[in-house]
Symmetry: D2
Subunit: 345 residues, 4 copies
């Protein structure tokens, strides 16, 4: 049993991490921090967890937490992680950072989309934590930059096709839709039930902060530099992201060939499920699980491939992938604590 | 006061027509038909309309209805309208057909996507009923092919840009999402609350029957032949369609110029609202109204324009537009009966 | 045309008043106030109203507004209305107050449930604004205490039975459920989409501030003093209240007799609809309208009557009833501006 | 490992059983039957289970299934179970019947609410499967009549108070609300998304088939005969039942005493959680779990206790409780396979 702590545990991602770690066979959750709810028990704030946990939220310093844990999850806003992480890194602890702070390898890009970085020297130690693509590097790392939710769905959706050089990369468009939990638990007018229910809209069109992260990883996969169009939308659901990804094919491939490619690329991956030909993923079929479901369509009239990738934004898009990464860096079975079937309906 | 009848009035579109016509200052609703609910009052089937209407659903023949009305709305499935419409057309009645039966000018295209046509000779008399584009022709017609819901949003969204020849038409992608009422009131497993709530998925990718209709109209606007990609999605909401439309620009235009173009193209149109720069439409802001809200974004890095168009699929996407067309062919004020503000929240 | 103003127009109730008054044939809306959104146009805050209104929110004083309007609606929190109303009352303006400040006739009761009252002397001038019960008094008044949403449904549901002395009043229980818009547009964690969607819970059991108001009116109807149990619940819907009301019958009545009583009690009331025997109201069938739908059941085994009353909390439970009251005090047709059919589905 | 089969596995309850049994450490799921989907894989019908199960639905006879399993779950409609169960009972298999067929001990009552019984002689062998109340009897039984969803919430909510004789039983009212999955996966108009979303209504007031079951068990707990009022409502959520239960107290008890009684009555029960004083359960806090959360309020003015009990209707109200019962009759740890934390948000 290793000892784990969660820094910033009172948001939706922190709560999801808490829930998953409570059921993890190899982990003892020893501390959860929260400024806002310091002194309250977790189950005061999240009654769903009543009798599953007795911990209280603490307003603790990194130094205090560092002493008692082997691995720490940082479920903090960008700009805050960079202040907290160094203490743990220097102490040799394993760190899974769920913020954007160590995801972008180019400091200038980071600073142009986010804020000035206060611990940039650690960026090069970080591994971008998509196990299906970077498992070997993750295994050797102690600092995981856990991917953003939108990027996870888009990168996993495109990786096989890009790796085979099938796409005209100048034509890639990712049209994505996310559930409201992606906006966190901050009390904002835009996240109120009455503002969201019955609605659907795009936001930050072409300007979402996940864009540089998406491009960094897609460029790496393709081995060249290019820009993509990315349009996020807000769905009236609690959990789930569906990315509908368009690109022109550079060569003729049949749907069967494409399908085989995806199945072989992800052969053996326990958290990737390729839909049968003609079937497309639904976010409600991955809800509550660490799965990424991928569907494929060919539009032969326009020579486009349409790739559909669905995840639970709080799990494969955040807390679940973080635990998957922890499992790898700690040498546990990769699916430990994550064998939760989707909750349907 | 003219006398109107609705053929096939017990689905969601028929009910919406009923509701709108009941509040129309120039119309007396004289008959509503339904096979399934024949003999029941409308308010037995739709308690929301209790005390607003005393009519019963009839299982009447076209000949019977033809005798008592001046204008008829056909809210029937495709393949059925084509059997019912001729009686009314021959009798010189005004017909607004909400099915697909007279929308496609090319009979072969119709028959390859739908069924064999039994009254194809009337296709050439039909006008495709988007008033903002074909007002003059509608005025002179007696047979309106009322547009599909997805096509309405996509055509209205693209018309200004296409008419100015701004787009590389080979790059057009329409990524759309619709509320469940678009699937009608048939009791299908796929439309059950438990199947839809919390979910989001694409369906009929590249194969939806609205595709030939979209292409027919976009080709006409652009004055040339081309194919588009169209991906419909199912939203867990009752009403509303949002289309997110992508295309590469052929020339450099600023967002301001594009915005001005749209405002001037639709100047004076009472049912088109162009969002201010930087704002995007939300389906919940058009819900219950005949508005089409359009927002614009430029992705300068990829030279793409992203056009967002939102409608209430049952109103501007069906019953409202049908009444707007009726107003035109009957010489009423175009907005009569349609001055309903959106219901928000 | 009279000139109307709304004080506190940027919450959901204020917005709904705005929407209704914009469609009112006898009213010119001349001012809307909001501290938070002062300087913004209404449609910046509520894009649904774009092109329907050009007014900006003002941070105006009562004196400023008083000069320009004939009637004022106060859509303010309790404790604030009492500060604003006097200026208008003294100037002889017609005032419809949507807060609780003038609803409770017993000052001590008010102050024990709310706050110290600063303009208590006006309480006796106020009429409790349920037109179906107090139309005559409303007609003569200039200060309307517009009822709470829960009380409206419960009082209208019980009035016929109480007026006929049918019930053992010691057994009355009102079990109610409300949509989230009842909590207003304040950004509170408890009103977030993720906290509400998929949930259902009771709150403030036996302690909700609407309780004294409910008891005041039920006691008046019965002509005696008694307490009731009232349990509000939060529904994952935007609009709507359903009250399920239980009471033991003092005498044997058949369902048919009860039904006839309700129909005759509310005969001629245009906003009350009694469901046919065996049918029960659904909040979605009154959504968007000023209707109160009432259904009746008899549980002969337990000698209980179960009364079900549904309203749209923002309309018959707030803004619609306020306009109905305004129509009465201004001598307009009582349904003016309120002839909006429910929006279904 | 024991071998389990599910008869009628393609409805929501059957699917939930499938999901739970797949994660059960002591169970091998060997067969799932379905007439409608015979020949299809489970994951064709429920893509959420893709890669978790390879079984196909069979249209098998009881005799065929009987040969291959040790325990069978009947997730069938009432009237069908009674035809299927005898084969298994006679063969000495353990049977958990989720229908109503063996729940009512009084055959006449069963036949007056349901249909003629074809295997009534087995009724006396059946134990009503609420483990918290009948654990000892369940342990010795081979035929479990798994309780209805509404009854589970109401019986668990009232058991402590009734067992202590605190209540005037003539005053008991159970006002309940259920998510739509309770209506099953049949394609009915009333279960369509557009009919349910945004709505809330009572149905079968005083006439629901769960009433005799509720009364049988409450009467047994109280040791006397009495009738209760029960009003079910339909909630626009997928899962969850909240019962708000009212009764007059026969003696003065403080909330603290009541609270202590409930905590001590359910001391050691791993699936019952008593909310802290002043807190009430929310169905979203039990969603996905086998918990029953209970909250308590005292209305001292009316001498009523208000008991609030929340469950996930598909789990503690059906499949989870069935597995809990199976665990007991098979001698497994009672929580085996059921240690799933609620999924929140």
């Amino acid at each position: 049993m290793i000892k784990a702590a969660i820094f910033g545990a009172s948001g939706y991602t922190g709560q999801e991490l808490t829930r998953i770690l409570l059921g993890h066979p190899e982990v003892e959750l020893v501390a959860v921090t929260s400024r806002r709810f310091a002194g309250k028990t977790v189950s005061d704030v999240f009654p769903a967890l009543r009798e599953l946990i007795t911990l209280k939220y603490q307003n603790a310093t990194p130094a205090q937490i560092c002493k008692i844990c082997d691995v720490v999850f940082l479920a903090l806003p960008h700009g805050v992680s960079m202040e907290i992480a160094p203490e743990f890194i220097k102490a040799g602890k394993k760190v899974v950072d769920l913020s954007a702070d160590y995801r972008l390898k180019d400091l200038k890009v980071y600073e142009s989309w986010y804020v000035k970085h206060s611990s940039a020297k650690f960026i090069k130690e970080a591994v971008y934590g998509i196990p299906e693509l970077y498992r070997r590097q993750i295994k050797k790392s102690k600092l995981i930059a856990n991917p953003g939710c939108y990027p996870t769905s888009i990168i996993l959706g495109l990786a096989p096709a890009l790796s085979k050089n099938l796409l005209d990369v100048s034509t890639i468009i990712a049209d994505s839709a996310s559930g409201v939990s992606g906006a966190g638990r901050e009390p904002l007018i835009g996240s109120l039930f009455c503002e969201v229910d019955g609605g659907f809209k795009a936001y930050k069109v072409g300007k979402h902060r996940h864009l540089p992260e998406i491009e960094q990883e897609l460029n790496a996969l393709a081995g060249k530099k290019f820009a993509v169009s990315f349009t996020p939308h807000l769905l009236p659901v609690k959990r789930g992201i569906l990315s509908t990804i368009y690109a022109k094919l550079k060569k003729d491939v049949s749907l069967g060939e494409l399908h085989s490619l995806y199945i072989s690329f992800y052969g053996g991956e326990k958290f990737i499920r390729i839909c049968p030909e003609g079937a497309y993923p639904n976010i409600s079929s991955v809800c509550g699980s660490n799965y990424c479901d991928i569907g494929l369509a060919l539009d032969s009239r326009t020579k486009r491939v349409i790739i559909l990738a669905a995840i639970d934004n709080l799990i494969k898009g955040a807390a679940g992938q973080a635990v998957q990464n922890m499992n790898i860096i700690c040498g546990f079975e990769e699916g430990a604590g994550l064998k939760i079937a989707p909750l349907y309906p």
